[in-house]
């Protein structure tokens, strides 16, 4: 089991499929069709910077990122 240090939660009610996260962290977020967002809720630590950028860029601020035991 890989060590999970980052946790992501997307409020998919809020998500409107703008796709900014897909551009900024393509190995974590992907759109199926035009609006259905699929994502890896526990990506590798090396994805932290892209993920934090994706969360900041989300037009509807639907992405929450936490790092257990650390300040995200």
């Amino acid at each position: 089991m890989k060590l999970m240090t980052m946790r992501i939660l997307v409020d998919l009610n809020r998500c409107q499929g703008y796709g900014q996260c897909v551009f900024l962290a393509p190995s974590v977020f992907e759109l199926h069709g035009e609006e259905a967002l699929m994502y890896d809720p526990g990506p590798e630590e090396e994805q932290l910077i892209p993920v934090v950028r994706a969360a900041a860029a989300c037009p509807v601020q639907a992405i929450r990122v936490e790092r257990p035991g650390k300040q995200a």
């Binding site: 967002l37 994502y39 809720p41």
Partner: protein, 464 residues
Amino acid sequence: MSPANGAFGANGHVVIVGASLAGLRAAEALREEGFRGRLTLVGDEPYEPYDRPPLSKQVLTGRAAPESTALPQASGLDAEWRLGTPAVGLDLAGKRVRLADGDELGFDRVLIATGTRARPWPNPAEAALDGVITLRGRDDTVRLRRDLAAGPRRVLVIGAGFTGSEIASACRGLGLPVTVTERAATPLAGALGGTIGAVAARLQLEYGVDLRSGVSVTSLEGDDAGHVRRAHLDDGTTLEIDVAVVALGAQRNTEWLRNSGLGAGPRGVACDAGCRVFDMYGIVTDDVFAAGDVARSPHPLFGFEFLALEHWSNAIEQAEVAAHNMLHAESERRPYIHIPTFWSFQFGVSIKSVGVPPLGEQVVIVQGSPDERRFVALYGRRGRTVAAVTFDQGKWLEFYVDQIERAAPFPPQYRNVAQPEARQVLQAEFPDPALPTEAPMIVRTGHSPTERAWTLMPAGGGRR
């Protein structure tokens, strides 16, 4: 933010029974609102709280690992966890929760957030066959993934509600042959009605699902080794299968409250609009609260009918209201007036809903076109708007939330958005509520803590 009230806020003990989305959110909200006392979360599964929606989607397709679904937790939660230890009873007079390992937890306030579980296949011997599976928790997904990885000749999905449809979508994504059976005339009929369900049916067929609507599975048959190999349908057909996913909706986890004196039963735990639980006489309790899938409460926007909402956002927002009301005096309590909201991703389409579609008698496409799988459908009841459903048009929902809150006239006349030329008001075609269909996710449960709008009973002989 007001300081949590007095001695209770500083030294009290809150026990949260149910360590999933609602339980975790309530714990976080209690701390956010200044609760400094003791906090204990009780969970029947051995895992810390995790998010369920990915289980039937990216976890099933292998895009994400089952253990990666652990929910983010606010730092400083400072909670005691009793995971893998189901609660087995609640002593209202003694203010204690009994656990399966014999321990008892005294509480000052308790939150009931025990949620639901998958409705099992009605025939226990058939349900015990290898390859027959329900999907609700992490362990279920691990099992189903293993079964799908074995390269089944065909997967049967029994019940075309949201969970069943998403599982069928994931199976098609993995390239597996899939048959979906649904007792109603279309998939999603209980949640969206047959008219919009027909759009979902076309979607399934396009993606290569062998969709059988209006039929029931009468029995599942295993081989000598006890693995499911055949399914028999009530139209006389036999299907050769290696996996049968039973997606017949949810049952509320209220058995542990039997004899507690609370207004709890198969339809859920009855509570007021402030999440305070009713006792069996319909008298509201002071220190017992409920939130999430297991709760049913009167909804001010929908005729004060008791609704049980099996939605992600309901778990979060109801938990926040329950936490707030646990900490505040009468005059500062908040009502729960959440507009039901949910999403489902299947076959490359995002289906979203606001309001209560099953209250709708009629439906009209107000934007877009079902042929293009991009549209907004509005549901009306007695001349007012009660719900909106979108296929790949989620950005419009906020507008319709406002329409629903104001009980806007139906059919609507908007001048500010382009509308289809030949607009037609259609019957919504919800199935006869007396017949069990797939999971409606919004369950209308009557107008009083003890009344019920209808009974959902499996038909005899292992049918559904």
